[in-house]
């Protein structure tokens, strides 16, 4: 990728004997939103902090806007915005004071009212930070990260602790920022968040990227399923193969259920085969159910699969 704002190539990070990141590579194009998903301890935050320049790499290379973020911090920092996972506020300052001081540390900063507006805290400007709720602090954090109109924005679990309304407001801000050309790398626990926001994503598990791509690519081939109740008079042996996918028979609540996993075939083609067969054989399919894999299926399967 020639226009990559972020490049990660063979990154490894170790804490003592523990390898937190075990050789990962990905690129994020300028203006793209890339999400890192993973369970706790998967290596998301370590990866993010490496890209933010907080730690040197153990092996591999990372580049942000063409520079090594750790060794060339001074070149990179003025052009990036960082939202930490938690903490990092001076509890005794008010919201407005916090923004004012940060404006002093940020070249070409947005004005105070605009920043407080981004934080959604216009009515709390005079309130000390210690009195804000967890979600409000996250919003203030986001506003500070956006203060210098960064070219690259790092968000570490940006909506944790937010109520649904604040979460949707935050998503809107992030989408607007991306529409404005900012590159965003975010980590999240919330699969819904990645589905809403991410152009591309990677699922990390135990320091490795298990799968990556667009939401569609990642989800494709991970458990597209068709199921229906077995008609009472139909022998199991009469069930068709759907272009190679064979039926699994299970008993659920006294009913016999046939199900096909049509990963290789695809949901559409599998369904077409089944319906054509049913039409020709005049079989009635009660409880017919066709379902694409969700990111959650992939995520859970990744976590399980890798532990096996």
């Amino acid at each position: 990728m020639d226009n990559a704002a972020i490049r990660v190539d063979g990154l490894r990070q170790r804490y003592g004997d523990f390898e937190a990141v075990a050789g990962i590579s990905f690129d994020v194009a300028a203006g793209e939103l890339f999400a890192l998903l993973g369970t706790n301890g998967a290596g998301k935050t370590t990866t993010l902090e490496t890209l933010e320049g907080h730690r040197a790499v153990h092996a591999g290379t990372v580049r942000v806007l063409g520079h090594d973020p750790h060794r060339e911090r001074r070149k990179v920092r003025p052009r990036i915005g960082i939202m930490l996972q938690d903490g990092g506020f001076f509890a005794d300052l008010t919201v407005a004071e916090t923004v004012d001081h940060w404006r002093g540390f940020t070249p070409a900063a947005r004005d105070r009212d605009e920043a407080i507006g981004i934080a959604g805290l216009a009515d709390k400007a005079g309130v000390r930070v210690r009195q804000l709720s967890g979600g409000q602090k996250r919003r203030l954090d986001l506003a500070l990260a956006l203060l210098g109109r960064p070219a690259v924005l790092f968000l570490d679990e940006p909506t944790s602790g937010m109520d649904p309304e604040a979460r949707h407001a935050t998503w809107k801000i992030v989408r607007d920022v991306v529409a404005g050309g900012t590159t965003v790398l975010l980590t999240t626990h919330y699969l819904e968040e990645a589905e809403h926001l991410a152009d591309r994503l990677a699922i990390l598990h135990r320091g490795r990227i298990e799968t990556s791509g667009t939401v569609g690519e990642v989800v494709a081939g991970h458990g597209d399923r068709i199921s229906f109740q077995m008609p009472g008079d139909l022998p199991v042996t009469e069930l068709p193969d759907l272009r190679g996918a064979r039926a699994d028979i299970s008993v659920d609540g006294g009913r016999t259920v046939a199900s096909y996993t049509v990963d290789g075939v695809g949901l559409q083609a599998g369904l077409y085969e089944l319906l054509r067969w049913a039409d020709e054989e005049r079989v009635r399919l009660d409880g017919l159910h066709a379902r694409s894999a969700s990111l959650e299926d992939v995520f859970l399967r990744t976590a399980e699969g890798a532990t096996r």
Binding site: R77, D86, G88, F89, F90, D92, L93, E97, W102, G104
Partner: protein, 265 residues
């Protein structure tokens, strides 16, 4: 390093210091307490000079321990643990600007205390204008640099802000005892006096007293003979070397131990 960026950090520090009653007491309350302790010493002559002035010039150095050392250990430790250091480090500020701003505020607070103390010594205790103000200033500035450096070191081995009250104690006591601020060292065995002279505050106090009185307070003679300007500086070569030694050691340990983030993170 950009001085205007550093001064913006210093302004933040000043705002926070003003909001923090405990820190405010350490910086302003304790010096007033110590100045009060000079009153009973007034008029007692020790080694040819007034006891209150001798003690007071010791405090000139000793205030570094509160305003610069203890203050900065607490600031650096608390900010590391609540991740404000990390957040500051995520801005366009350089590392030197972030820590330099705090050092600047601490040093400015100390300068206010030192000037106030000099004024109090002059007005209330019959003190003089310093015989060699430049030597005095150089000694105190060197002391400020050493104690700021030691603050970086000690904050690195202090697990949290509460523990800072304990981890500063060894250096604080060594300084109190070693510099002869709390009691004169003449009664101690010679080898112990030599050890005491090596503690980081001793050279500051020796230089400060020599610069203030225009008498030799480096070589521990009973009479403290008068010294001229050039002679005063020559007399103070050894304490300046000790300060340089502490600065070098402190810097080496600081670069090894100082941390920007909590250990468990």
């Amino acid at each position: 390093m950009n001085l205007s960026a550093m001064s913006r950090v210093a302004r933040l520090d000043l705002t926070l210091l003003w909001r923090n009653r405990t820190a405010l007491f350490t910086v302003f309350g304790l010096p007033i307490l110590f100045a009060g302790m000079l009153v009973p010493m007034k008029g007692q002559e020790i080694g040819g000079v007034d006891g209150a002035l001798l003690q007071g010039t010791g405090h000139l150095g000793f205030f570094l321990v509160f305003a610069v050392f203890m203050n900065l250990v607490t600031v650096f430790t608390a900010r590391r643990e609540d991740r404000t250091l990390k957040r500051l480090r995520g801005t366009a500020l350089s590392d030197a600007e972030i820590t330099g701003g705090s050092v600047l505020t601490a040093t400015a607070m100390y300068a206010v205390q030192a000037l106030a103390l000099l004024a109090v010594l002059g007005i209330a205790f019959g003190g003089r204008f310093p015989a060699d103000p430049v030597l005095l200033l150089a000694g105190l500035a060197g002391g400020a640099a050493v104690f700021a450096t030691l603050a970086f070191v000690i904050s690195g081995i202090t697990p949290n802000a509460e523990m800072a009250q304990l981890t500063v104690l060894p250096i604080m006591f060594a300084c109190m005892l070693g510099a002869g601020v709390m009691f004169p060292m003449d009664g101690l065995p010679e080898w112990l006096q030599q050890v005491c002279r090596f503690t980081p505050l001793s050279p500051v106090v020796e230089i400060a007293r020599t610069g203030y009185f225009g008498q030799d307070f480096v070589h521990r003679t009973a009479s403290h003979p008068p010294v001229g300007i050039a002679e005063g500086w020559l007399t103070c070569v050894r304490p300046f070397l000790y300060l340089a030694f502490w600065a070098v050691i402190g810097r080496a340990l600081a670069s090894r131990w100082f941390r920007w983030e909590p250990r468990h993170a």
